[in-house]
Amino acid sequence: MSLKYIDEYRDAELARRYADRIASLVTRPWKIMEACGGQTHSIVRCGIDQMLPAGVELIHGPGCPVCVTPMSTIDAAIRLASRPDVILCSFGDMLRVPGSSSDLMTVKAECGDVRICYSPLDALKVAAANPSRQVVFFAVGFETTAPANAMAAFLAKQRGLANFSMLVSQVRVPPALEAILSSETHRIDGFLAPGHVCTIMGFSEYEPLAERYRVPIVVTGFEPGDILQGLAMCIEELEAGRSRVLNQYTRAVQRQGNLAAQAMMGQVFEIAPKVWRGLGTIAHSGLRFAAPYRELDAEQRFDLGAESPEEKSGCISGLILQGLKKPVDCPEFGRGCRPERPLGATMVSSEGACAAYYRYRRPLSAAATEARHE
């Protein structure tokens, strides 16, 4: 079965031609960060980094909402899910993220009522169907997901669903890129900006960053053809000494973004400082409920107890999320830390760099041994 707007961008010949084009452009080493975890997954799965000329290095960025949700928020979700009066609704990929002493999957197995939702609107249906229980939606995500989460809050308030609330961990990409660029240890020459975040937000927010830090930023899609084109556009800018914001993902992204979605986000949420797992607090990098919606804030509705400790020892996910280390640099990678027993969140989500490397980049001998035992 062929899938329109997917298959044509996965064409091997297209990829080869872009790889040739990139090879013909490059005169010096360049380090380019792909900001989004979906792009990281595609790069590692398809071996795009291995198609590039020596000297062009891809640095995997912090763009995985599952990975950067703070441990204290995971612990809060676990405490909520452990309460008999609460149904916790969550996107499926949050369930195995390690908190300080457990994870949601374990709570679910121990009789916590944890339900996996495809859409935040599913959580509203759960709330309507269970008026005697408190239903909390674990609203995690980047700007791509924020309009959907905002809509759930808007409709809950409109419909007077008094038993519905949200545990919000919403993050914004541009302040995180700025935090990376303003660090003295960063080594990034250019960025691929996250295409679906820009579908919502547009890309004008990236223009002052490109200008101030003299880095080209290319809004890029997720298929191999998209990523290779984004790299070719970024390297053209770098080789010409330019640092503009360009748009590779023109089929889905316009400069102003999706105004209807932004309007709903602006009504429900406001910009706030935010803690990122592995990165610390970044100013303006999160969203919290605006005043008229604070009654829906699960952190206000429930007593969620004390703050949690920081990352477990042995995990270098903070350095990986900043692009300072690769998963294979970690002594625990594939040993003490594996997807079924992760030390840090970058090993949990399929968009986390460690999980992508574990799945696609382990030595063939290790993968073969494991396959025989499965």
């Binding site: 707007y5 961008y9 297209l14 909402p65 859409s119 791509t144 959907a148 809509m151 579908t199 889905a252």
Partner: protein, 82 residues
Amino acid sequence: MCLSVPARLVEVSNSQDALTRVGKASFGGALKEVCLAYVPEAKVGDYVLVHVGFAISIIDEEEARFVFSFLEQAGEAEEPLQ
């Protein structure tokens, strides 16, 4: 997590309220309900990008060829791709 998948709109509700406008989208044959609140201009036959049950963008058919035309403009391709 920001995964969004292209799907073809095969049905659109007649809701008067833009916020509760929904449609049915075909993901290579599999049908699923999608919220159309954020693509008020979407119509049957359009391809939309769907994320957590919401259409977030209508795919621009002409711009969809940019990945091929870019190579051709760059003078690389002797024969056009596709």
